[in-house]
């Protein structure tokens, strides 16, 4: 009775990231319809722009996956701080790109560890703990911004705008990283542990999983990826700015949840993060192509987030008996 097509369709319908695949495809088609740029060009450009969001989103995915409504609100500040830190270490020199990158990511990981410890040792809810550390980092970034006048290295900017043939390097990197994380989550131990902790910390403890360690590691991953994103962002934008991280704070959470990772924890979906990032970027492109002002861009992104969530994702209503 069930042919290969129906089974594939049934599996696709059940995949957690199906809604955002459909959404991304929809807005890609809409954008192409309203512009005379080529379909491929639009897609590749959006993939390049979405790259930063993919990186932050994947890190945020691990935190959200640990469950209990954990989210990392320090992402924006880590991005900004990492941007300023990286730039001041690089100071325009190509040779210092690698040390700057390593330093920024190390700082990001360290911040993540602090976040994790606040949550695990001091029982501060993740939302508030990361909010607070975000504030401190904001001050640190302000401090660097007011004292440093360094510039971005040429090779970093070049790297971010480079192309392999017609494919932008960031777009390729984004796909590669998403694929790598998908495999890591599926086959690696850490991903399984995060899912387990997200589903039930109690049971994970009985199973011998160091729940606290997993939580701290999840925050460390998020901090590290946000730092990486910030570092790459300055290459893209040509320099750091104080507001560079703000748009990523809430969108990094949105792409995680829209992509199918459960807010309550327990199911990670890396492909979902990638597709959701692409979808949100295409929405912005679509609104720009229509010639509408930036206010409408915000409305479109917000409405889309709510729509996908409400229409396409299973909710939790209590049932009588």
């Amino acid at each position: 009775m069930s042919s290969p097509t129906t089974t594939t369709l049934a599996r696709a319908r059940q995949a957690p990231f199906t809604p955002v695949v459909v959404g991304a495809a929809l807005f890609w088609l809409l954008t192409i319809a309203f512009t005379d740029r080529g379909a491929g060009g639009v897609l590749l450009e959006s993939l390049a722009v979405a790259f930063i969001l993919v990186v932050c989103g994947l890190g945020q995915m691990f935190v959200v996956g640990t469950g209990g409504g954990a989210i990392d609100l320090s992402v924006a500040s880590v991005i900004t701080l990492s941007g300023y830190l990286g730039t001041s270490i690089m100071d325009g020199s190509d040779g210092r790109v690698l040390p700057a990158l390593l330093a920024s990511v190390a700082v990001g990981v360290g911040i993540g560890v602090v976040n994790g410890l606040l949550v695990v040792w001091f029982a501060i809810p993740a939302l508030v703990a990361t909010l607070a550390t975000g504030f401190v980092l904001q001050s640190a970034a302000l401090e660097i911004a007011s004292t440093s006048k360094a510039g971005v290295s040429g090779s970093l900017s070049g790297f971010m705008s480079a192309k392999l043939g017609i494919l932008p390097v960031p777009a390729l990197l984004g796909m590669a990283i998403a694929l790598a994380v998908t495999a890591f989550v599926r086959f690696g131990v850490f991903g399984r542990h995060v899912s387990a902790v997200g589903q039930s910390a109690e049971v994970s403890r009985y199973a011998g999983i160091g729940v606290a360690k997993v939580r701290v590691a999840a925050f460390a991953t998020c901090g590290g990826s946000a730092a990486l994103a910030g570092f790459l962002l300055v290459g893209y934008a040509g320099g750091p700015s104080l507001g560079m991280g703000t748009s990523y704070m809430l969108t990094s959470i949105a792409v995680v949840v829209l992509g199918g990772t459960l807010v309550s924890g327990g199911r990670l979906s890396a492909p979902g993060v990638w597709f959701a990032a692409l979808m949100l970027t295409l929405v912005s492109t679509f609104v720009t192509v229509l010639g509408l002002s930036s206010g409408w861009e915000l409305v479109a992104q917000g409405a889309l987030i709510v729509l996908v969530l409400v229409v396409a994702m299973p909710g939790t209503r209590p049932t009588r008996a």
């Binding site: 001091f122 975000g134 302000l142 809430l250 959470i253 206010g295 409305v299 909710g315 209590p318």
Partner: protein, 325 residues
């Protein structure tokens, strides 16, 4: 339980009945600190100037309180208050009838947000996150650059100066006590808190939880509108981004005031204290001449300190009393 344990419970903010006290101790400490820096602060005018700027925040914290009591979180409150501010500073001034209509529509939209969250069982964090973009976007479309003014009635309310007690203190007290009364002394308040804490259990008891949750959002929405109107009366201008910091501040105010994210676990009077603490810390830092770059960071460290102490206290006490705390 020994007296030391009880004292420790209260001091670290872990005693449910008294958790609302600590923020007010902090308020007194901060006022004393301010008074040492500038004795005029405790005069009628001094208090009016210091505290009137906090009235919108206090009302907003109470709005967030209702949402948290219902077991949710409203990440859109900053953008929503910005939208109310924009409407009040333009349409309401030019054409009061149209302005009231827009405000009414905005209010219905907020309640609809609550309906969508609970009818579909969607996570409030993400729905409110999405709606925050919508509110902000609409506000930016209505007012691309900050401008506008304030309706006279709002400015006069915010500048009200009754004898003896500054008007702002009266306003904060009225809103605070009303919230406390609704949440702790009415059936609806109890239903909201119970539903927020354990929706399925309350649902199985036959309570129409959807209506209860809608009621919580209806009250929160009204408070958010009042906060936006108060803010307009104070700033006498419109700016979509004016209240962006309110998301953080309202959540912090509720938590510092003794509430938690568990749902149903809120302390209205403590939350008012929490909001004032956050506002006063800013004033103290300015008068102390703290480097402007670091003022935000200090607030973060303070938040961590307060909650860290509470968390440590909770862990130590649950261990010593075998979970009875």
């Amino acid at each position: 339980m020994s007296t030391t344990t009880s004292a420790l419970l209260i001091v670290t903010g872990n005693n449910r009945a008294w958790s609302w006290v600590m923020p007010w101790v902090a308020v007194s400490a901060l006022l004393w600190w301010l008074w040492n820096l500038q004795p005029l602060v405790l005069s009628y005018i001094g208090l009016s100037l210091t505290l009137s700027a906090m009235v919108p925040l206090v009302i907003a914290v109470l709005a967030q309180l209702f949402v948290i009591a219902a077991g949710d979180l409203d990440l859109s409150i900053g953008s929503y208050i910005g939208l109310i501010n924009v409407i009040a500073a333009t349409t309401l001034v030019e054409s009061p009838a149209r302005g009231l209509l827009y405000l009414g529509l905005a209010y219905l939209a907020y309640v609809a947000m609550g309906l969508v969250i609970h009818w579909r069982g969607a996570p409030s964090i993400i729905v409110t996150l999405g709606m925050s973009f919508v509110w902000l976007g609409v506000a930016v479309v209505l007012m691309p650059t900050p401008t506008g003014s304030s309706p006279e009635v709002l400015t006069s309310i915010m500048n009200w100066a009754p004898p003896v007690v500054p008007g702002c203190i009266v306003l904060m007290a009225v809103f605070g006590v009303a919230t406390w009364w609704v949440l702790t002394r009415t059936r609806l308040g109890m239903a909201i808190r119970a539903t927020g804490n354990s929706e399925s259990a309350v649902h199985l008891l036959g309570v129409r939880t959807l209506l209860v949750q809608l009621a919580a959002y209806a009250i929160a929405g009204a408070l958010a509108v009042f906060a936006g109107l108060a803010l307009t009366g104070l700033t006498t201008a419109g700016d979509p981004y004016v209240a962006q910091s309110y998301v953080v501040l309202t959540i912090a105010g509720v938590i510092v005031g003794g509430g938690s994210f568990r749902g149903g676990d809120v302390a209205p009077l403590g939350a008012v204290g929490g909001a004032i603490v956050l506002g006063l810390v800013g004033t103290v830092m300015q008068l102390q001449g703290v480097d402007p770059n670091w003022q935000v960071g200090v607030q973060g460290m303070l938040l961590v300190a307060i909650l860290g102490v509470r968390g440590l206290g909770h862990r130590a006490l649950t261990r010593s009393t075998g979970g009875a705390a």
